[in-house]
């Protein structure tokens, strides 16, 4: 765990990230399934990232 960053901070960060990428996906004119894949991938990457630096 990086000093000063709690799991709640990380969860909020992931949530903001998911919303931001959802809005980006809407503007990118993607099918719903593609939006879903994009958001899930991003959240998963960052989850793995946080887990690896813990």
């Amino acid at each position: 765990m990086v000093k000063g960053i709690t799991p709640l901070h990380e969860a909020l960060f992931l949530l903001i990230l998911a919303v931001a990428f959802f809005l980006l996906a809407v503007n990118l004119n993607l099918y719903p399934l593609e939006k879903f894949i994009l958001i899930c991938s991003v959240v998963l990457i960052f989850t793995i990232f946080f887990a690896s630096i813990a």
Partner: protein, 405 residues
Amino acid sequence: MKKFLPLILMLFLLPQISIAKSGTVPPPSLTEIICEQRTDSKGHPYWDCFTNQKKKIYVFGTEYVPFENGRIYIQLLSKDQPINNALCLIDLYYPDLTVWFDDAAMLYLNGSEGLYYFDIIIPDKVGVYMTTVKCFYIIDETYDYADNAVVINGLESGTFQDTWKDDNEYHDVREKQVGGYTLDFYYEFYNVSVPENYTGMTIYWIGRWNDPEEDVCIYIWDWCNSSWIKLKNCITTNTPMVSNYLNTSIWNSSCLVAPSGTVRVKLNDTDPSEKSYFGNLMTDFIDVQMHYLSFGAIESIRGGGEFHVSNPRIPSIISEMVEERLIYNHDYCIDNTTLKKEVLIEKCYFDECYNITRSEIIECKWGCNAEAGECYPPPYERMLVVIGIIALIIILVFLGRRFLW
């Protein structure tokens, strides 16, 4: 497990956020008629026609520019009293003297004092449009509305019930690709009865047609010969209303109305091989009116007039003085594969302003995005975007991991 606590917490918090989505009438022998040209209070010319029996018909037109909504209307008076039970038929001629409308029935303005009107969208042919109107009275009519719609070629949205009222609820039929883009369907009117003292039948159509490349013509089923008969007045992009009067002296009612009382009216595009534009026929109202003489002998009156269409007074040398303002820009999906783009522009030259509406229908090969109001790009393009973004994030995370933590 503890490492994935942020993901679990995020999944718990995610449903708490909601994102608001925006949804979405035979001519009898005529009595003597006298016509005088006069001008109204605004200086517009009109013909004042009357008989020695003090019957009067006023035909009004005005000055127009192309693509404006136009209305020709008359006031029918007898001894200065309005006549509200008449059948008025209009003939309209293009500036090149060809016929635009021939014996098209005008609509009576409900509750008015003898007003009858006919709507058009002014064509881009400039010049003088001559018009004549003849009215017969006292005529009453029965009204029959569509009971069924049979689409032979076309893509239908809405139902025949949407044609029962002039209320901007449309029965929409779009051209279908069968070789060329074509449209072919008919309405059935059940239990139509031929009244006593029957004088003729009128088929009224109100709606919009958006393909300037071709017209849509109206046909009626001939039960005697089992064939479709083409009627004189067709639907164009400049006709928000079309009517065809079928006089009993020419048209045998027993051939137009089946013994069971069924009348069939077909709408068919004029060029089935045309492949440049997917036309859309929006029918707001259609009915079959059976006219009959309700009181004594038939009376008639005739009159004439004109309206003038000219180009807007915008000399090209000072075209930069024209102020152009976008009023409305709306792109939306009609269905899963069709996008409609609408633009309304106001153009002003000094204190003279006019609105221009442009609309375009686009076929979306990969589907229409109702949320964004645009066509989806091809699948490979979309996947490239998704993979590109994911790759970029992986690289950023990798670099962050290497150099920051």
